[in-house]
Symmetry: C2
Subunit: 448 residues, 2 copies
């Protein structure tokens, strides 16, 4: 049995390890287009900002160690075609320029996502970057030298985390967002505003409702960003306007692409083509709250998908359980987290959703360093089913979003949340944890 | 409708507020034996240790404010008898010495617990204290003046929190525990040892397996603690060897006392006597994991019981959902939390329990200040049902015990925990949160 894996980062390497672990008789070969494998891409902003001393810290497993586990790793190998009938892939060895034909019994397509580059960002100018993989991270780090003014385009996870990183490096930072607020896809409006307030408090200039029209440059270096509200001078530009799944190879193999634009799979991570699986950021999943297909490329999801694919390819039986839409980020002294649906998302789906907002403290008000925490809890009128939660507060305090994620997983109700026996002592929470207070209020709101 | 409440701290005041809120036509009178109401007793060690500037900070609601809500509060009023047939209580006004007979339609007995005082602790010597209520807290604070050597007897929540408080005040501290380890009722042995190691690291001298035989004194002040392993010099002694429910009044009323020793109630917090409810630390509850009656006097449980009682007495319908045995405490730089059953508790109940231990970091290992976190996860062989979790780590990191508490509430399985879509970003957790790692290992252990 020969398993071929295309892509050696989160999903690909999880699959490789899991397959070998389950069945030491399988042969596993990983083709990775780039020169790095098995790294934590989510950590890139923290190396750039200086919290993590160098990019090497993000690497979980080296090719040598993987070879020791019986996993063949071929770097700079670009899989360019699939013959699903013959069960072979065409591989370009970018170092030698040779093209190989490699057989497989099971193929995993774990090609991830690419950063979206609008037309104006397709430039040769130095100092203009996306941030997706390790080479991008190294390139940004190199561009820091001598840079003074950064312009970040896009107010999603990466834009927000990069705003903090570049401020930490002493740059002035302007953050441009086309939409009306930052964190637009993650949070409802009031919670977006809290994130923006924190950015501004830390000296980031935030301009929402601003469309980029082009870049200006001089002597091969970027000098500014032209917008519909004027020119912003910048010698470092981060383009963080979204990602798109890398589906070309799956499409070439004849695999079905879902309505989300990502590769469609069943719960075993199998595509519509016999013998071919997909996992990771290029692959869609099922949202347990809405039962719809979604494309939410996040680290845990990618690793879990890879693991499921690895088990199944090696002859086991595992199922991807779906997601509930959990996300979390830190920006300066603020943590923001969400799970399930926002009110806006629920409205967009035509659900009869109702939300309450609670402003409390993350632990007993009288205990030192009690900090504000803001919670929005959302449920379905009629059924009383929990739909989602949003939390903004000190970073350590918002991980309690996981409690709601656990209940969403079990399709639990607001009443269930209110009944929980949560841990209380003054340094950890109020007697009634803010989640319980929110559930109490939401329960009454649902009855009114 | 006249509701009489005996006891004005957590359960009693929650009941009073809730009853008035639900039904503004009811008359609510609270008789409190002491001079304080509505305070957070869990905060006492933090005032003594200096984290909280004074005891007033612990008071949530004053008698004046409660009167404004239409709740009559009578301080220094000791309810000494009940005539359940006549629906009256006998009340001693300790200020005037008069005895009153007060009618009720609904009576709530929320008399809490008392600290256990062994024979040797029944002393007139100055400097010997229990810590249960606000006067105890004030007395300990007064004894701090001039004190240099503290001896704490008992290694439970209060003993541990007081060890930290008294070290913070610059005293030398010896902690005596009769059993083989500290935190004996909360954690399994390995986790108890981690707690002891932290105490010792912070200069607390811990002596387990030590039985107290008596106290020594001079000129009316304590000078030492006589043990089976010799004399320990001390000018401040904290006796924290446990609590017992105050059931005398409930017994006098003819209410059934459960096998736990606390007052037995149904899910509406009603005792076996018509018209009489009980709530709070004096009352037993149902453990949702074992379906047995338990006596776990804790702050959230007391408040929740009071709330349920208040709703029902005022004509509504509420049910106490039971507990899952969640507890948490901080000692110096360490947090410890538990929910459900420990392995030892499960063994004691004859369950086929199996546990795994995971040592990881509370967030991504490469992100600054990643600290060790230790998790024991316990489940039932055969069914795969989760039974409990124990966590020890940096204080902020152990509140994730609530995720397991949520799943225990829903009688979920190890597989459910492993499937959760938990929040991940490098400052908050590893890609696979330590709880997921534990669930993965435990799932495999259950299959083996």
């Amino acid at each position: 049995m020969r398993i071929v894996i295309v892509g050696g980062v989160a999903a690909g390497m999880s699959a490789a390890s899991r397959a070998r672990r389950l069945n030491p008789d399988v042969q596993v070969v990983v083709f990775e287009r780039g020169g790095d494998i098995s790294y934590g891409a989510c950590g890139l902003p923290y190396v750039i900002g200086g919290d993590v001393p160098d990019f090497g810290h993000l690497i979980a497993r080296t090719p040598e160690r993987l070879r020791g586990q019986g996993i063949g790793v071929r770097l700079h190998h670009d899989v360019t075609g699939v013959d699903a009938a013959a069960r072979t892939v065409t591989v370009l060895d970018r170092d030698s320029g040779r093209t190989l034909t490699e057989p497989y019994d099971r193929l995993l397509i774990a090609t991830g996502v690419s950063a979206v580059r609008p037309d104006w960002a397709r430039t040769e100018l130095g100092g203009v970057h996306v941030l997706r993989d390790l080479p991008d991270g190294r390139a940004v780090a190199a561009s820091l030298r001598g840079a003074r003014r950064a312009c970040i385009i896009g107010g999603g996870y990466i834009g927000l985390e990069m705003a903090e990183a570049l401020r930490a490096r002493g740059l002035s930072v302007v953050l441009l967002e086309k939409g009306p607020e930052v964190a637009g896809r993650m949070l409802d409006r009031e919670y977006q505003q809290r994130v923006r307030a924190e950015l501004e408090r830390r000296g980031v200039e935030v301009r929402c409702g601003t469309t980029v029209e082009g870049l200006t440059g001089k002597a091969g270096r970027v000098t500014g960003v032209q917008t519909d509200h004027g020119l912003i001078r910048a010698d470092l530009v981060i383009v963080a306007v979204g990602v798109k799944p890398n589906t070309a190879l799956a499409q070439a193999a004849g695999a079905r692409i879902g309505r989300t634009g990502a590769v469609a799979v069943n719960a075993r991570q199998e595509t519509s083509v016999e013998g071919i699986s997909a996992a990771g950021d290029n692959t869609e999943s099922t949202h347990r709250v809405t039962r719809r297909k979604v494309h939410l490329p996040l680290g845990l999801t990618a690793n879990r998908m890879g693991r499921v694919a690895g088990v199944n390819m090696a002859g086991g039986d595992a199922r991807f359980p779906g997601v509930v839409g959990t996300g979390i980020f830190k920006v300066f002294g603020l943590g923001a987290a969400r799970t399930g649906l926002t009110q806006a998302e629920a409205d967009g789906l035509g659900l009869r959703a109702v939300s309450v907002d609670v402003d409390s403290t993350d632990h007993a008000g009288y205990y030192p360093d009690a900090a504000p925490i803001h919670v929005r809890l959302t449920a379905e009128r009629g059924s009383g089913r929990l739909l989602g939660a949003q939390l903004v507060g000190q970073p350590d305090s918002v991980k309690r979003v996981d409690v709601v994620a656990a209940l969403l997983h079990k399709r639990a109700s607001v009443q269930d949340l209110f009944e929980l026996d949560l841990a209380y002592a003054p340094p950890f929470s109020s007697v009634w944890d803010v989640l319980l207070v929110a559930a109490d209020r939401l329960g009454r709101e649902l009855c009114s």
